[in-house]
């Protein structure tokens, strides 16, 4: 918990032992941002997730992984090798004073190490074990490997992503699937924690990464369950066969804007947009005279649609994303930039909300801008206050000061590779 907090954080009384790799890091981050004492436990030498790029100044170094930095804020860091007998005993001691253990080992690994839920429950009857795996703890796919692309494919969301004339496509870079799973794990963890407050009993929370990517499939399941239709991929196809442009090139990228399929929306949002075009001499008579009360996808032809899409295309190409966003705000128009990361950092709303927080990296002698608290909370604020831990950074704190190990014991364990 942040030493400078003058209030009690919402999850202040709770301690989390976070053994996850990339598949579950977000869970501990959410709990830590809400004030829990999250201890990131890694193998000596560091967790494999520290090898995930991009890296600070492109230096491939376990202390410079930006992925690691992003999803381990607020956590304290210890090293422990639970594959060793000494490590297992040490872990059991830690479990005694923990409320939650989060892990993402293959199903059965914790059991085979003698650290499964039934064992942990003996040590600490209220312990909550949160397990995050590709397909769940049991079942025909329990031993299947799932990197992001596999989870994305098996969860149904990849099927409808991309262009009709190309393969189905994932979201680039780090895993979205693992973030959804981490989020679901945080929800499940909190449900178990609340249940324990009422009943005193802990339990095992079993999270499936495959299932976690199913909700974003949006209408996909309904298409099949209710209409025996498998939604297909293709960015500009609509169910009634019209090619409606959604993305428009502009001076420095793309914006998202569209004619919607029915009167109320168009009557509200299109006239101010046309006035804007007109103020720059970009609206032709056909567009200015168009009756939006009659426009419906069901009865508009592709020719007409193509014609009314010409002036917006010219207009957008004359402006930058930032100009268009600000103009949209002034006029109440549904128009948005397809932001790059640079756009995010320059966004006026995030700045006004003071969303960004500077975190110190004393090991590098720098301060880095991070995404801040995910909520503004009145009584017990969420906060992002500390950068991700270095490998074993809090070993002394946790093992010596809190667990009471002597310096000698620590050194013995270190030599034996236990920590």
């Amino acid at each position: 918990m942040h030493p400078k907090q003058k209030f009690e954080a919402m999850l202040g009384p709770y301690r989390v032992l976070d053994l996850t790799d990339e598949k579950g890091l977000l869970c501990g981050k959410i709990l830590g941002d809400l004030g829990a004492d999250v201890i990131k436990a890694e193998k000596p030498g560091g967790d494999p997730a520290r090898r995930i790029g991009p890296f600070y100044h492109d230096e491939v170094d376990p202390e410079k992984s930006l992925f690691w930095w992003a999803y381990n804020t607020n956590k304290r860091g210890i090293t422990i090798d639970i594959e060793t007998p000494g490590g297992r005993e040490l872990f059991k001691r830690l479990v005694k004073t923990a409320d939650l253990v989060i892990e993402s080992f293959p199903p059965g690994r914790m059991d085979s190490l003698g650290l499964g839920y039934t064992v942990l429950e003996q040590i600490n009857p209220g312990i909550i074990l949160v397990s995050i795996t590709p397909f769940g703890q049991t079942g025909p796919y329990r031993d299947y490997k799932a990197s992001d692309i596999v989870a994305w494919a098996m969860g149904g969301i990849m099927y409808v992503n991309g262009d009709a004339d190309r393969p189905p496509v994932r979201v680039s870079h780090h895993s979205q699937a693992f973030l959804h799973a981490g989020g679901e794990a945080a929800s499940g963890a909190m449900m178990a924690l609340y249940h324990r407050e009422i009943t005193g009993e802990g339990q095992h929370v079993d999270v499936s990464i495959q299932e976690a990517v199913v909700p974003p499939t949006y209408m996909l399941l309904g298409g099949w369950d209710m209409m025996r239709v498998n939604q297909q991929r293709g960015t500009r196809a609509t169910s009634i066969g019209l090619d409606i442009r959604l993305l428009w090139p502009c001076k420095d990228g793309y914006v998202l804007w569209f004619y919607w399929g029915g009167p109320p929306y168009n009557q509200r949002y299109i006239p101010p947009f046309i006035r804007w075009l007109d103020s720059e001499g970009m609206a032709d008579d056909f567009l200015k005279g168009f009756d939006w009360s009659t426009f419906e996808w069901a009865n508009v032809s592709q020719e007409v649609l193509d014609r009314i899409q010409i002036p917006p295309a010219r207009f957008f190409s004359n402006h930058t994303k930032a100009q268009l966003l600000e103009g949209a705000r002034e006029r109440g128009i549904v128009l948005y930039p397809v932001s790059t990361t640079e756009d995010l950092l320059g966004n006026p709303q995030l700045a006004a909300r003071e969303f960004w927080v500077p975190l110190a990296h004393p090991e590098l002698g720098i301060t880095v801008t991070y995404p801040g608290a995910f909520a503004r909370i009145s009584e017990a604020p969420a906060a992002v206050f500390r950068r991700a831990p270095l490998i074993g950074e809090h070993n002394r704190h946790v093992y010596e000061q809190e667990l009471g190990l002597s310096r000698q014991e620590m050194m013995t364990m270190k030599r034996a590779g236990v920590i």
Binding site: P216, V334, Y370
Partner: protein, 406 residues
């Protein structure tokens, strides 16, 4: 039914398409009593957006409504009338949590801002989750989950390097599925805090800000390296082969991800140690990345001869990550793992009959979630007003006559 975690918690839900309904659905599935406030004057888009059962439009026939309204109580109130507001305040006085995702200012206009609600119930927990937050120059800027997905940077990084971005989620409102991951834990944390201290809270969750957390490593990359992340299709720096490969059949695909030299050896065995796999240029990750076009083409020549299920089973048996690019039909009708997990449940609603929806992605060993059918419009008017708001038959009749209860 065994005890569910949030049994005894009551929530008044003003939410509509989509973040708040998703949030309160999970709470309802986990035992909370969620009262959804609806009005016939402005029907929730959840009810009016297809797909509909058998393609027939109807307020109780939409998949999205049936999926995200499980287990909730539905009442129809006219909030334009002062007595409608009075009824809602009466419910709030008997509730633990209020959830809403209107644009900033809407609740205040109805006299239902947090400051108003604490007068009725001092320890109320209120969550407001609009697109860009309750404050700031864009707090009332109109938009949807689709537009937010673009604003939050998630669209720019989806698709092919030589083409314009694609929607990350088949044109769905992708960011609507991110914010609940933050809202749900925060609400339960607020309940725990209240147990400890007796105090409620106001939570202002900007969907935009939660979405930026899903972009965080790339944001940091811009901060420290001044790099702007682009689109890389299905390729990734740390694995090859890593792509979706066409298989036997009509538009059928399997993904394969080879993430280590060990997996590469296993992969080669699965494809029968075909001559090309022994080519030295493919023996290291660096080599496979350098010649990735040729590699992908060779892999696909092999996958084209097999059904995607065969590819997945053979690869996984050898310890290589692979998965069928599943359609809705695959998920609902064929996937044995989802069946084993009982992820989908069959529910029954008077109008559409039997239909399938799913629960949360977490299974709780001692206090499992349960699904119950979504409410038809106004289904629980009498129950809620009588049993929960404690109103008499006469009061209710008056409100019906006045058009407060629709």
């Amino acid at each position: 039914m065994s005890k569910r975690p949030l049994d005894g918690i009551r929530i008044v839900d003003f939410g509509w398409f989509l973040v708040a309904p998703i949030t309160t659905k999970v709470l309802a599935d986990c035992g909370a009593q969620v009262i959804k406030i609806e009005t016939t004057k402005r029907v929730d888009i959840l009810r009016t957006l297809g797909p509909f059962k058998d393609g027939v439009q109807g307020l109780n026939r939409s998949f999205l409504f049936n999926q995200w309204m499980t287990g909730k109580l539905g009442i129809t109130l006219n909030l334009a009338k002062p007595r409608g507001i009075a009824v809602v305040k009466r419910l709030i006085a008997r509730s633990d949590i209020v959830v809403e995702n209107f644009a900033a200012g809407v609740m205040a206009k109805m006299g239902l801002a947090y400051e108003d609600l604490t007068k009725i119930k001092p320890d109320i927990i209120m969550l407001s989750t609009c697109m860009q937050g309750q404050t700031g120059p864009y707090s009332t800027h109109p938009g949807t989950g689709n537009t937010l997905t673009a604003l939050a940077g998630l669209q720019h990084i989806a698709g092919w390097p030589d083409r314009e971005p694609v929607s990350p989620a088949g044109n769905g409102p992708y960011t609507d599925y991110i914010a609940p991951h933050f809202c749900i834990p925060a609400l339960v944390a607020a309940l725990l805090y209240r147990s400890r201290t007796g105090k409620g809270q106001y939570l202002d969750v900007s969907q935009y800000e939660t979405a930026v957390h899903f972009m965080a490593p790339l944001v940091l990359d811009n901060v420290v390296n001044h790099r702007v992340a682009g689109r890389t299709g299905n390729r990734t720096a740390s694995a090859a082969p890593h792509n979706a490969y066409r298989c036997r059949g009509e538009d059928r695909w399997c993904v394969i991800a080879v993430s280590s030299d060990e997996e590469w050896q296993a992969f080669c065995k699965v494809v029968g140690n075909a001559a090309w796999t022994g080519d030295p240029k493919f023996s290291t990750l660096a080599g496979r990345k350098e010649h990735e076009d040729a590699l992908d083409s060779l892999v696909e020549q092999w996958t084209m001869r097999h059904a995607p299920e065969e590819v997945m089973v053979m690869m996984q048996a050898a310890g290589v990550g692979a998965g069928v690019v599943q359609s809705a039909e695959d998920l609902l009708d064929h996937d044995p793992q989802l069946r084993h997990r009982r992820f989908f449940r069959r529910l029954h609603n008077g109008e559409v009959g039997e239909h399938r929806v799913h629960g949360p992605s977490f299974a709780l060993s001692k206090s499992p979630w349960e699904l119950a059918a979504a409410p038809v419009m106004g289904e629980h008017n009498e129950h809620v007003l009588k049993e929960i708001a404690g109103m008499s038959d006469e009061e209710i009749a008056e409100l019906v006559v006045e058009g407060v209860i629709e």
